[in-house]
Symmetry: C2
């Protein structure tokens, strides 16, 4: 008899694909979800889990940073849907009985700081015991229904734009975990650790998109955030848009000071948790956006799909503009089931 299928066999994308079958068509396509068509089309909801030992540890992050990060990860999903307003969030907290109140207080303090910075209220939640500390955050936001950002809206010929540098968060994690010796540049070291502990959701992206929209051009913006890695974001946009993605190696969005590190390229593509926006836009709009949004740059383009290529639910193959394929390990990003 065959072994029963386990979550580890499916992997995260495989699991999400199967779970999407329980929801209305297209409901699981993006970072967040528009609620049902007969209700208010402007409301977006998104849920994220943060589990001790997987998404956070006391060794790399205090409770206030964790709270900030938990909020920021969800607000980044709202930004990636095109939200202009954060309504608020609910927090499910599981923690062992022995957990100090001071830790919980720190987490909620960090959450509140993020809400004070980006808007929205703590709306509610639930608490439970548990073997492992865990935060389950659901965020609500509003968008203009005429201006959504969706993964599936890319087309061949679009340019791929990154809203900022990638790899810094992974560098910060490496420094905090002692994977790397302290850097010669104290300034880079501090920037990397801050990028890991206090990521900034790009809620400024929508206004820049609106300001740079070419006159007369209809709204069509494909995108998602890079929480699970730049490579995975590009692959998901390309896959959902039935395109293939071509990246320019010389235009990878590395933080300047990081370019000399041997891991720079790998962490830029697969480090994850940079919480930038990755967008696919008509070339004229893409170039205008790069002028408008500081730190944004063109990193590649969408091409027509390979006729015989794999047609995954979540991903499409990536290649460099010189024709070589990216090694899957480089672009692998973060997977929750190994």
């Amino acid at each position: 008899m065959a072994e029963p299928l386990r979550l580890a066999d499916l992997g995260e994308w495989g699991l999400i694909e199967r779970l999407g079958a329980y929801a209305p068509p297209g409901q699981f396509d993006d970072d967040g979800a528009l609620i049902s068509p007969d209700a208010d089309r402007s409301l977006v909801v998104t849920t994220d889990l943060l589990v001790e030992g997987i998404h956070f540890s006391d060794a790399t992050m205090g409770p206030e940073d964790l709270g900030w990060r938990a909020a920021a990860a969800n607000l980044s999903d709202l930004a990636a849907m095109g939200c202009h307003q954060v309504v608020g969030l609910t927090v499910g907290l599981a923690a062992p009985d022995e957990t100090p109140w001071a830790w919980v207080e720190g987490v909620y303090g960090g959450l509140s700081q993020a809400l004070a910075s980006y808007g929205g209220d703590l709306l509610g939640g639930d608490c439970s015991g548990g073997q492992q500390r865990l935060l389950a955050i659901t965020a609500l936001g509003r968008l203009d229904p005429g201006r959504p950002i969706r993964r599936r809206d890319g087309r061949p010929g679009d340019l791929l734009v990154s809203s900022g540098a990638h790899g810094l968060s992974r560098l910060g994690l490496a420094l905090l975990q002692g994977e790397l010796e302290p850097l010669a540049s104290l300034e880079l070291q501090e920037r990397a650790i801050a990028a890991h502990r206090r990521p900034r959701p790009r809620l400024d992206g929508l206004a820049a998109l609106v300001a740079s929209q070419p006159p007369g051009e209809p709204w069509r913006v494909a995108g998602m955030d890079s929480s699970d890695g730049l490579g995975q974001a590009v692959a998901a946009i390309a896959g959902r848009s039935h395109c293939q993605a071509v990246l320019e190696r010389s235009r990878l969005p590395l933080a300047d000071a990081m370019a000399d590190l041997p891991q720079a390229e790998q962490w830029c593509l697969g480090g994850g948790e940079d919480f930038e926006l990755v967008l696919a836009l008509d070339p004229v709009w893409a170039e205008a956006l790069v002028e408008q949004l500081e730190g944004a740059q063109v990193i590649g383009r969408l091409d027509p799909p390979q006729p015989s290529g794999p047609r995954g639910w979540g991903t499409a193959p990536l290649r460099w503009a010189d024709g070589t394929a990216l090694a899957p390990a480089d672009a692998a990003g973060f997977s929750h089931f190994h």
Copy 2:
């Protein structure tokens, strides 16, 4: 030096009280939350955690029942706020890598059955590894902003109404855990197990309240659901309404066939997870509601507060109509931190 305060020292109510300080005033008062005043006042959001070993176990419940129950618990919170429409829910799933897909499929199958019965869509979610299986559900619903149900809206003189029998779910759990010998009545045994595995959220409560509202009387309905126990629900309504609660021992809402069990009274008050509505209403309205809603009955009343009584955030002392105090253990209900 004093030991640091732990969650076990605070208890669940103490923890929620402290966490409420991070939210707008009144935001944590009820089973669900209305979103911020400048946004849509008709939207309600509620979050529940279900943790393996605390809220469920393979020994008492298969995955389909768990999925149904997880959805029902959240829909019950929407019912307890006065929602007339279920918009849908998001699901955060944490599970070890070795978890069989079939288990996850069962859970989502049960969730879908509940949504098919009561309305609403699976809106989205997140998945993660973890040591312990856990579901974090956030449900969204809509109410008429002129017809909310809130814990704090009770007044001295109101009658307390229960929408149905209590204790059956706890009896079902006792049978499933082998705490009790199989019952002589197979019919009661099956009803109790069904009550535990397939609770029915009282989304029919609102229509009965509307139909029974006395002409000319303004809307004022205090209430919550009895997920954590009838006694705890009554105590919370009384506490938030600055009243004390008086229960009539002869009118406890026991399931008929259960009245002979020695545990009947204790499980009726403290068993939990019956997911009925507990309401406080003007007497004329209360009597009309009992006519309208099958299974509903008056169980006691709200009295003015004891001048020197404790003023807890979550609870008020309960007493019997003959003047004796309820033993706290009887009404203790379910607490998530011990």
